[in-house]
C-alpha cells in the first residue's frame, strides 16, 4: 500500500477493501472478471498474440520481396498475407493494445477511480475483440482469408471478382470488432466524464486522458461509416443487392467514401493514444510540467475533430471534381497545425527540462523522429499533383509505416517500459532496455526508409514481385534485412521484460517520480486501486506532496475510503464535485456468454443460415436480460 497505514482502524479498513474487491481465484476469476486491470492485461496478451501473427505476415511479405522474382509465396497467398497483415495490425493490434490494454489499465488509475464506468461492458468489449479476432483468423485457417487489401475496394471485393468467402470473413469480422471498439470508446468517455476523483476538474485532467477522450469521440463517430459500408457490402454479396454495382445504379465510389470517412479518423484513432503516452512519459523524465498544457489538450481534441474532414485525400487519384479535391487538400494542410502544436510542445518540454534519457524517454525521442518523417511525407500527400504521382506506390507504404509503426507503436513500447514497474512491481534491466530501443530504431529506419526511394522509382505497393531488370533488388534486400533487425529488436524487448518479471529488483510504488495518480498506489495496484479516493488539486497530482499526505490522514479518519461495498465515487462532469457514491458490478459470466452468442450470430451469417443466426440473436437478447437482472446494489 502506498498510502501509509498508521493506525489499526486504517488497517481494518484496508483489509475490508481487500475482502470486498478480491475476485474469484483461478481461471474462473479471469473469465468472469470485471477488474479493469485484469481486462487490460488480457487485452495486452491477446493483442500481442495478434501482433505476433501480423508480424509473421510482415516477415513473409518482406522475405518474398527480398530479391526479384522469388516464389516464397504464390501471388494468391501474397494477397492474403498482406491483407491479413493490414487488418491484423490496424484492427486487432494497435487499437486493442492502445485503448484496450493501456487505456483500460491506466485510465481509471490516472483519474483516481476504482474501475471503469461500465465494468461488465468492459469485459464484453474484450471478449468480443477476442471472438472477432478468432473469427477473422478462422478465414485464414480454412484457406479463405480476405485478399483485397485492408481497404477492400469494390468491385474487386464484389461477389463477381471475389467469389470465395474471404471477403465475407473480412466484412462480418470487422462489423464484429467494431462492436467491441465502440463499446470500449463509450466506456472511456463515460468513465472520464463521471468517475474522476473529486477535485479533478477538466482542467486538472492529465493529457493522457484528453488523448483518450479524443480517440473515443473519434471512434464513436467514425466507426458507424465503416459498419454501414460493410453491411452494404454483405447485402450486395450475400443477398444480391446493388449498392456498389454500377450496372444497376449503384456506385463503387460509395464504398471508397464510406470507407475513408471512417479510414482517416482511424489514422488519428491509431496515433492519438501514442500522443497520450508521450505526454505521460515526457514530464516524468524531464522533471517539468508540459509546455502549453491547454494548447496540447485542445490540439488533441482538434486533431480528432479535423480528422473527419480530410478523407478525400485518399481519393485524389480517382477523378473527383477539382473543387472537391482542393477543399480536402486545404483541410489536410490545416490538420498539420494542431499536430505541430503538440510536436513543438513535446520538443520544447524536453529541451527546457532536465531530461534523463532512460529507456521510456528514448522511445519517445524515436517516436518524435519518426513522427516528423511520417508527418512530412503526410503533408506531401496533401499536395494533389504529388499524390496523383505517387498514389499506390511504395512511397505511401513508407509514409504510413513511419506514422503507424514509428509514431504509434514506439510510444506503446516506451509505455510498456514506463509502466512495467507499476504493473509488475519489478524493474527491467536498463541496459537491455536501451539496447532494445537502438536495435528496433535502426531496424525501423532500415526497413521503411528505402521504401521512399523505391516509391519514387515507381515500385507499386501490393505487387507480389518485381522484375530483376528494374534495379530494385538492393533496396528491397536492405528493407528485408531491416525487417529482421526490427524483429530482433522486438524480441529483445520481450526478453528484457520477461527477465525483469522474473529477476528484476523490486520497483517500489513510484520508481520514476511520475506525475499522475497511478504512481500513488502500490505496484502492482490492489484490486480496489486506492485505499482512499485521492485528493486532486492540479494536473500533476503526484507532484502535490501535501495532497498525498492528506490521503494518509483521510485513511485514518475513514474519509472517502468507501469500505462498505464495491463502491467508487461519481462526480459532476466539468468541475468534478463529489455527486454520489456508486456501487459497481462485480464478476459476471454474462459478458463472456453474450460474446459467444454474438459469435454464433456472425458465424451463422457467414454460412448463410439466417434462421440459426436469429436463434443466436435471441439467445444474446436473453443473456442481456439476465445481465440486467443482476443489479449492482445486491451485495455479493
Amino acid at each position: 500500500m502506498a498510502t501509509a497505514v498508521a493506525t489499526p482502524e486504517a488497517r481494518a479498513r484496508v483489509d475490508r477493501l481487500e475482502r470486498i474487491w478480491t475476485e474469484r481465484p483461478g481461471l474462473v476469476g479471469w473469465l468472469t472478471t470485471t477488474d479493469h486491470k485484469r481486462i487490460g492485461l488480457m487485452y495486452l496478451f491477446a493483442a500481442s498474440a495478434f501482433f505476433l501473427a501480423g508480424g509473421i505476415e510482415a516477415l513473409l511479405v518482406r522475405t518474398q520481396l527480398a530479391a526479384p522474382e522469388q516464389g516464397v509465396l504464390s501471388p494468391q497467398a501474397y494477397n492474403q498475407v498482406f491483407t491479413m497483415h493490414g487488418i491484423t495490425m490496424v484492427f486487432l493490434f494497435v487499437i486493442p493494445i492502445s485503448t484496450g490494454a493501456f487505456g483500460n489499465y491506466l485510465l481509471p488509475l490516472m483519474i483516481g477511480a476504482r474501475d471503469m464506468a461500465f465494468p461488465r461492458l468492459n469485459a464484453l468489449s474484450f471478449w468480443i475483440f477476442v471472438a472477432s479476432g478468432v473469427f477473422i483468423y478462422a478465414g485464414l485457417a480454412v484457406g479463405q482469408a480476405p485478399d483485397a487489401g485492408w481497404f477492400d475496394y469494390v468491385p474487386l471485393a464484389s461477389k463477381q471478382f471475389s467469389p470465395g468467402m474471404g471477403i465475407d470473413f473480412y466484412a462480418l469480422g470487422l462489423i464484429f470488432v467494431t462492436i467491441s471498439t465502440t463499446a470500449g470508446a463509450v466506456n472511456f468517455i463515460v468513465t472520464i466524464f463521471k468517475l474522476r476523483a473529486p477535485g479533478m476538474s477538466l482542467n486538472r485532467m492529465p493529457l493522457f486522458c484528453y488523448a483518450f477522450l479524443a480517440v473515443s469521440g473519434a471512434i464513436v463517430f467514425a466507426l458507424p461509416a465503416l459498419t454501414v459500408a460493410l453491411v452494404l457490402l454483405e447485402l450486395d454479396r450475400q443477398l444480391g443487392f446493388h449498392f456498389y454495382d454500377i450496372a444497376q445504379g449503384g456506385d463503387p465510389l460509395l464504398w471508397q467514401h464510406l470507407f475513408w470517412i471512417f479510414g482517416h479518423p482511424e489514422v488519428y484513432i491509431i496515433i492519438l493514444p501514442a500522443f497520450g503516452i508521450a505526454t505521460s512519459i515526457i514530464p516524468t523524465f524531464t522533471r517539468r510540467r508540459m509546455v502549453a498544457f491547454p494548447l496540447v489538450a485542445l490540439a488533441e481534441i482538434l486533431v480528432a475533430f479535423i480528422g473527419f474532414g480530410v478523407w478525400v485525400h485518399h481519393m485524389f487519384a480517382v477523378g473527383l471534381p477539382t473543387i472537391v479535391t482542393i477543399y480536402f487538400a486545404a483541410a489536410s494542410l490545416i490538420i498539420v497545425i494542431p499536430s505541430a502544436i503538440q510536436l513543438f510542445a513535446w520538443m520544447t518540454t524536453i529541451v527546457t527540462g532536465t531530461p534523463r534519457f532512460s529507456t521510456p524517454l528514448l522511445w519517445i525521442v524515436g517516436f518524435i523522429v519518426f513522427f516528423i518523417i511520417g508527418g512530412l511525407t503526410g503533408i506531401m500527400f496533401a499536395a494533389i499533383p504529388f499524390d496523383q504521382q505517387l498514389t499506390d506506390s511504395y512511397f505511401v507504404v513508407a509514409h504510413f509505416h513511419f506514422v503507424i509503426f514509428g509514431a504509434a507503436v514506439f510510444p506503446l513500447l516506451g509505455g510498456l517500459y514506463y509502466w512495467f514497474p507499476k504493473v509488475t512491481g519489478r524493474m527491467y534491466d536498463e541496459r537491455w532496455g536501451k539496447a532494445s530501443f537502438w536495435v528496433t530504431f535502426a531496424g525501423t529506419l532500415l526497413t521503411f526508409f528505402p521504401m521512399h526511394v523505391l516509391g519514387l522509382l515507381g515500385m507499386p505497393r501490393r505487387d507480389y514481385t518485381y522484375h530483376a531488370g528494374l534495379g530494385w533488388g538492393a533496396l528491397n534486400l536492405m528493407e528485408t534485412i531491416g525487417s529482421y533487425v526490427l524483429t530482433a529488436g522486438l524480441l529483445i524487448v520481450v526478453a528484457t521484460l520477461v527477465a525483469g518479471l522474473r529477476r528484476g529488483r523490486p520497483a517500489g510504488d513510484d520508481p520514476w517520480g511520475g506525475d499522475t495518480l497511478e504512481w500513488a498506489t502500490s505496484s502492482p495496484p490492489p484490486a480496489y486501486n486506492f485505499a482512499v479516493i485521492p485528493k486532486v488539486s492540479s494536473a500533476y497530482a503526484m507532484w502535490d506532496r501535501k495532497d498525498r499526505e492528506e490521503d494518509a490522514r483521510k485513511l485514518d479518519r475513514g474519509e472517502l475510503v468507501l469500505d462498505r461495498g464495491h463502491e467508487t465515487p461519481a462526480s459532476t462532469v466539468l468541475d468534478a464535485e463529489l455527486d454520489e457514491i456508486l456501487a459497481m458490478p462485480s464478476s459476471s459470466w454474462a459478458p463472456l456468454l453474450l460474446a459467444l452468442a454474438l459469435a454464433g450470430v456472425f458465424a451463422m451469417l457467414l454460412l448463410g443460415h439466417v434462421v440459426t443466426a436469429g436463434a443466436f440473436g435471441g439467445l444474446a437478447a436473453l443473456v442481456l436480460f439476465a445481465w440486467h437482472t443482476h443489479e449492482p446494489q445486491v451485495a455479493r
Binding site: 463515460v190 463521471k194 461509416a225 453491411v231
Partner: protein, 206 residues
C-alpha cells in the same frame, strides 16, 4: 460524507426519488445511452448519405417501373410513432419521482402504439417487396435497407421497453430508474431518426 448519497442503495420508491432529487449531474447510464445513440446517429447518417449519394448519380430515381412512394400513410404512421416520445418522457419523470405504477402504465401505453406501428409497417414493407425488389435496382436496395434499419431499431426499442416493464413489478430501484431513463432516451433518438428516415424515403415524391 453524510450529504453524499449512496445512490445504488435506493431500492424503494421514496429512496429512489430522494436520490434523483439530490443528484446534480446526469447518471452514467444516461451518458452511456447518449453515446450509444450518437454512434447510432452515425449509422443512420451514413445510410441516408448513401441513399442520397446514389440518388444523385441516377438519371431516374426511382427507376422506370417503380412508383414513387405514397406520402400520406408513412407520414401519419411516423407522427403516431413520434408521439410516443411524450409518454416515454413522462415515464422517465415518473420513475425519477419513484412512482413505479405510473411508470409502467406510461411505458405500456407507448408500447401499444409502438407495437401497432411496427405491425402496420411490416405489412407495408411486405407490400412494397411484392411490387419491387431490393435485388432489381440500387433504388430498391437503398429503400429497403434504410427502412429495414429503422424497423430493426423500433423492434429493439420495443424489446427494451418490455425488458424494463418486466422488471417494474419488483418495484423501482436506482438501477431500474436509470434503465427507464436510458430507454426513454433511446426512443427519443429512434423517433428523431424516424423523421429523417421518412423524409428520405419520401424525397422522390416531395
Amino acid at each position: 460524507m453524510s450529504e453524499v448519497t449512496r445512490s445504488m442503495r435506493a431500492t424503494t420508491g421514496p429512496a429512489v426519488a430522494r436520490v434523483a432529487r439530490r443528484r446534480v449531474a446526469l447518471p452514467s447510464g444516461w451518458w452511456g445511452m447518449a453515446l450509444f445513440v450518437a454512434t447510432e446517429a452515425g449509422i443512420f447518417g451514413s445510410l441516408i448519405a448513401a441513399y442520397f449519394y446514389l440518388s444523385f448519380q441516377a438519371t431516374r430515381w426511382p427507376p422506370p417501373g417503380i412508383d414513387p412512394p405514397s406520402i400520406a400513410l408513412p407520414l401519419a404512421l411516423t407522427a403516431a410513432l413520434v408521439a410516443t416520445s411524450v409518454p416515454m418522457f413522462l415515464a422517465a419523470r415518473a420513475a425519477r419521482a419513484g412512482r413505479a405504477g405510473l411508470t409502467g402504465g406510461l411505458i405500456g401505453g407507448a408500447l401499444l402504439v409502438q407495437g401497432a406501428y411496427i405491425a402496420v409497417q411490416a405489412v407495408l414493407y411486405a407490400d412494397d417487396l411484392r411490387s419491387f425488389s431490393p435485388r432489381d435496382s440500387a433504388y430498391g436496395s437503398a429503400y429497403f435497407t434504410l427502412l429495414g434499419a429503422h424497423h430493426a431499431h423500433v423492434v429493439v426499442g420495443i424489446l427494451l421497453g418490455l425488458a424494463v416493464l418486466a422488471r417494474l413489478p419488483g418495484g423501482l430501484t436506482n438501477y431500474r430508474v436509470i434503465g427507464v431513463r436510458a430507454v426513454a432516451l433511446y426512443w427519443a433518438f429512434v423517433n428523431l431518426a424516424a423523421i429523417f428516415v421518412v423524409l428520405t424515403e419520401l424525397s422522390p415524391s416531395l
